[in-house]
Amino acid sequence: MSDALAIEVTSPVPLLELRGISKEFPGVKALDDVSFAIFPGEVHMLLGENGAGKSSLMKVLCGAYRADAGEFYHEGKKVAIASTADAQKLGIAVIFQEFSLVPYLDIAQNIFLGREPKGRIPGTIDRRGILAAAKRVLDTIGFDIDPSTTVDKLGVAQQQMVEIAKAISQNARILVMDEPTAALSDRETELLFALIARLKADGVSIVYISHRMAEVFALGDRITVLRDGRRIDGVRPADVTPDQLVRMMVGRNVDMTYPRNFADKPGELLLEVKGLSSSTGISDINIEVRRGEIVGLCGLVGSGRSEVARAIFGADPTSAGEIIFDGKSMSGEPDLAARRGIALIPESRKSEGLALLRSVSDNLVVSALRKLFPSGLFDQRAAQRASDCLIRQLRIATPSARQTVGLLSGGNQQKVVIGKWLAAGSKLFIFDEPTRGIDIGAKSEIFALIDRLVAEGAAALMISSEQVEICHVCDRAYVMREGRIAGHLTRNELTEENIVRLGMHHA
């Protein structure tokens, strides 16, 4: 890494420089006088909360948005980026979080999509040529796979490799990566980091957007922090601490320890799960949750945590066992569970938690219709008043209750999902990965909210892959392994080591 720094110091001309870039949308300055330089062969980390302007900057870079003001310099010469074609000519390629591959074509076809080598017969494709060319590209990034494999057979990490190969085949000199490790396992992340090192060595520059502190320090040569569309600072990893970076991102001190007011004595028993099994692969689950408690449910991805949540909520049928809620046995569909006072905040907010095209208000009242309108007659204005209340209470950032919910940021969408259960007056909140894809500021807000809920006599069962969060927030936790409860950890035993130890196979 010191070599890379040395190169940067001795080559004062940036590969690409943005000066005073501004981009305005009606009502909001998405980018406000942002300057930004990328040097050859560096990994430039781009940090900021959701809505800070990272995506806009990325879209300006790749020509998807046209900047209202500002200039671009490529190796010192003034250039224009007015279209994606311009960006491509300058060697800029973006690896978005959602890949743009065609699932039923093979790797080679995807890499050369729209640029296929022509066969001898007009209108045909030189199949052997395309496979050989793809193989060469894959070799340069060290990805050992048969290029005739169809993309739908690939995992997320492999698809990402294909995207990178595609960019490299277009002679990309600047790779913009948007949270590339968000969906990768630890092992896959290591492979990606190795590839990044290799690309760097070849002089490719990487603009890397990340929410993970560890990556910023492991990979970054330089860090640019954005907040509210403005560039806050550009620093080197050696010169800052994670806390300083967080302060720059948030603009205020954020307590990363998620303060929690632990109750002295747990309240009465609210949920009792006895020997629960279901065809989704969980068996003999025994769980107790008391009022005033946040109980963690941990384990590896795929250990059956979400399945337990769904079974308790009635979303999947159970094959054995009993669920006793608030003293009464319960079995039925989610509408029964919801009526009795159970709330599920599902893992995938967008597909399972919200009707994205409907308004904030529509989404906030959907679970509380019967409670708000006992006569059965719906009143749009009353619904909006109730929503306005929740919007203030949860500090949901939205222009109005009538805004389409899909246009809010991830953290605010999550607040809407929680808000609909607040409106319903739920007693037990089951959170499935409540902070996934949510920036740091919103995260601590959500934990403060959960803390307040349980302090007021509700209870929470929280699934999270972030063991730090579980350890900070939970009163105690169950650890799952292969569809069963592998162990229970009290507040004193609740450490990351213990969670991992219980959750690992053959522990």
């Binding site: 959701n50 990272k54 995506s55 569909e333 509408d335 009143d379 809010l408």
Partner: protein
Amino acid sequence: MTDITKEAMMPPRSFLSQDAIQVFYRLLAAFLICAVLAVLSDSFLSLGNILNVLRQASLTFFIASGLTLVVLTAGLDLSVGANVALSACIAGTVIHKTGSPALGILAGLACGGLVGLLNGVMVTALRIPSFIATYGMLWVLNGLTYWYMAGETLHGFPAGFRQIGSGYLFGLPIPVYLLLVFLGIGTLFAQRTIWGQEIYAIGANPVAARLSGIPVARRLLLVYAVSGTMAGLASIIFLSRLNSAEADIGESLTLPAIAAVLIGGTSLFGGVGTVFGTFIGALILTLVLNGMNLLSVSANWQPLVTGIIVILAVWLDMKTRRRTS
């Protein structure tokens, strides 16, 4: 990762909702069509013709209003026309056998509702996609009706009964009163009851709706039963107006009803649309066909024109909505 830019590009919703704006566009279109027809044809603005248009539109609307609820849940009911035929034949038989129009009306509504309920059971309990379930039901109903009628025609009903379809009250055809009543009930049900809200929520995202505690299966049963019952109601009005029932009266009904729903701005993907929009859709469709008759355009052109209007309406709908969301 969401970005501020997307949030910014969408201005806060104006005081008029999207639905209100879409209905406004459609009313405008209906008025334009009226204006053009008034200029081109002397007889268009005559009272007789206007009442005729309203009566025609009401028949399409009865079927299309129930169908609108189904489409709002992202479903489809292809069996409505066949349902009208069977319900009309059964209602007609009951009236002939018992001499009681009231019993006949009850039988027609019950038959329609029961068929709808069966559709609902196929969609919810058996999880058959509604398109396929109701398409199958269409054949089953046709088969039953042809077998039951065996080529016969039921003809001649009591004068009182015939008033429903062809009578007047204070100068307006009775079906027009029924139209206003059911337009009101349908709009109130969809917009001002919690069941209506739940139906919109189911159409917008059925998974999220279920996980929000909405009894999705029960609401779908209700929606299909309502669609069937409205087909039953339409069957009574047909029977009364035509004063006869044959096995094949339903064949030309389903597609115009779907056209009215689509022209009215209800999305086949669910969650978007209004019953009032469907009323205007039925009106636009009827106006155009009426205008073609008045201008002596061959009836052979009617399907082509209907098709173009549907495509145009949906395209314009997508275009105007995309701009704001």
